[in-house]
């Protein structure tokens, strides 16, 4: 039996019935890793011994692949950056503690864009990941390793992180379900920070039900992350039982149905809308008038926060230290120059610029005000509809090396950024394939802490597409 093909739900059922053990699951994933990783490159490192030890100690646990910016004690945590090559985590992130307490174990470290900055995983400083559906194409990013591992059946499920679309866009490219939880739903303690007012950890899985099970394990208040409120975590898997489109009001934000949309993405999204309508959902056109400013707001706020967060990589306490440094100043400048890749450098410079004296109010201060207007658009629209349905990414997976200009690459996140800025929850759910066989997902968006509703509409959609 090819156990690596299983999802969480099936794995849990098999473990409960005693059909196989956690060690059997891990062994099957290791076999698959050896067969496929040279080709797909989903994993950066895989500590087989540690995975087998954890499985032996927890014979009913389901292994989960971990994006390489989430700390797991004793494991590397490089953020796919040369600056953290050789770094070994001294402690478990809260999400890892939560996983371990809920019948899961971490298993393998998956690739990503360096420090989660990118939309193709090509910015990884440590490895190349290919799309399992077409090896000449990117898996998306920044959680490209997670998406390739799930889509390529190289794991049971994976954790990703989403700052402006980094779970949803790769999920769309690799035929997985991805959930970006509401801001504050999941703790970030022990997750290397990119843009702290946006970052969220979320599940990337083979089905919506699997995402519901995994999110339940991840979510909740953590006293080590002050942004997590004491709001109960529902049993999401139970909440989505009997999910249906009947009686749901689904909004189509007109700003997301633009002329430049890839024709195949447009066709698949249009078909998705028709399927929702014939399954009983009421479809209405709505407007989020400040959408056009979202990308500009994001590319001020995210680099600004990143430039502050990445100041900690200075060659002093951990990470790469330049051998060429003569004094403290060159220790900083040379260690960072040698350790960071080009996209990270660009964003640090951009972020430092918008925060610098004389520009702060015009850029960072103003962007925060426009962000309020974007959030108000969502508050307003969710008084009228249960969920929004939009394309997830403007195109299917593109070719490796195809997008060279940074600004063109940024446009990948056009549809995922506004909801990230608003702090609401959103999903990417597989919707179909292009003529060339590339997967395409659609995005559902619900209000803040409305994960039950988000997962229900996603499940109802999955059921009608299957």
């Amino acid at each position: 039996m090819e156990l690596f093909k299983l999802g969480i739900k099936e794995a849990q059922e098999g473990l409960a019935k005693g059909e196989f053990s956690s060690s059997d699951l891990v062994k099957s994933i290791i076999e698959r890793y050896h067969a496929k990783n040279d080709e797909i490159g989903a994993y950066l490192t895989f500590d087989e011994e540690d995975a087998l030890r954890l499985a032996a100690e927890n014979p009913k646990a389901v292994p989960i692949a971990i994006k390489d910016l989430i700390n797991v004690v004793g494991q590397p945590c490089t953020c796919a950056s040369k600056i953290l090559k050789g770094y070994i985590s001294p402690y478990d992130a809260t999400v890892i503690k939560n996983l371990k307490a809920s019948g899961f174990i971490p298993c393998g470290r998956v690739n990503m864009d360096e420090f989660a900055m990118g939309s193709s995983t090509e910015n990884s400083g440590l490895g190349k990941t290919r799309n399992p559906y077409d090896l000449t194409r990117v898996p998306g990013g920044s959680s490209g390793g997670s998406a390739a591992a799930v889509g390529g059946n190289m794991c049971i499920a994976a954790l990703g992180t989403d700052t402006g679309g980094s779970i949803r866009q790769p999920a769309s490219f690799c035929n997985c379900v991805g959930i970006k939880p509401s801001y504050g739903r999941v703790s970030r303690f022990g997750v290397t920070a990119f843009a702290s007012s946006l970052d969220q950890v979320g599940p990337m899985t083979k089905s919506v039900e699997d995402s519901a099970i995994l999110l339940k394990a991840l979510a909740g208040h953590d006293e080590m992350d002050g942004t997590t409120p004491r709001i109960d975590v529902p049993d999401y898997a139970k909440e989505i039982e009997g999910a249906s489109m009947k009686g749901l009001k689904i909004g189509l934000p007109k700003e997301y149905f633009i002329d430049g949309l890839d024709p195949e993405v447009k066709r698949i999204t249009d078909e998705a809308i028709k399927k929702c309508a014939s399954a009983g959902a009421e479809i209405v056109e709505v407007s989020l008038p400040h959408t056009e400013y979202a990308m500009a707001v994001y590319y001020i706020i995210a680099p600004a926060e990143a430039s502050a967060n990445l100041a900690r990589f200075d060659g002093v306490r951990y990470g790469h230290r330049s051998a060429a440094s003569k004094d403290v100043f060159t220790l900083y400048t040379k260690s960072r120059a040698e350790g960071f890749g080009p996209e990270v450098k660009r964003r640090i410079i951009m972020g430092t610029y918008v925060l610098s004296s004389g520009y702060y109010d015009a850029y960072y201060g103003r962007a925060q005000r426009v962000r309020t207007l974007i959030k108000r658009d969502f508050d307003e629209v969710f008084t009228k509809v249960d969920a929004l349905l939009t394309p997830c990414a403007p195109t299917p997976a593109f070719k490796l090396g195809e997008l060279q200009d940074p600004l063109t690459m940024y446009l990948n996140d056009l549809f995922t950024i506004p909801s990230a800025l608003a702090g609401v929850c959103a999903s990417s759910v597989p919707a179909g394939f292009t003529a060339a066989g590339l997967p395409v997902g659609v995005q559902f968006i619900c209000g803040g802490f409305e994960e039950s509703k988000l997962l229900s509409v996603s499940k109802a959609f999955e059921d009608i597409v299957k």
Partner: protein
């Protein structure tokens, strides 16, 4: 507004090669030009949004708890002496 990449990189403690400077300069000018579009939005009287949700101070009890053991905390140090991180001399004229 024009971005001076070499100057900002120095503020960010980032050494750039001449080649990087010449590649980044037009790329970043392009990005700055793009984000400048927010200057036309009317934000009069609009409060800034600092976080993904409205957050007031999140306090927890001030209790002394065990932190990472020194040896664990120093494990990833690029250079150390005893229980300390080793760094080049910082204060001018001081003994190293």
């Amino acid at each position: 507004m024009k971005i001076d990449v070499a100057y900002v990189a120095e503020l960010a403690r980032l050494e750039l090669t001449d080649e990087e400077k010449s590649v980044f300069q037009p790329q970043l000018e392009n990005i700055v030009k793009y984000v400048d579009m927010i200057s036309k939005v009317d934000v009069e009287g609009v409060e800034p949004m600092m976080h993904g949700r409205a957050i007031v101070n999140a306090f927890r009890e001030d209790i002394v708890r065990p932190s990472l053991p020194t040896e664990t905390a120093l494990k990833n140090a690029p250079q150390r002496v005893g229980d300390e991180f080793l760094l080049p001399k910082i204060v001018e004229g001081a003994e190293s």
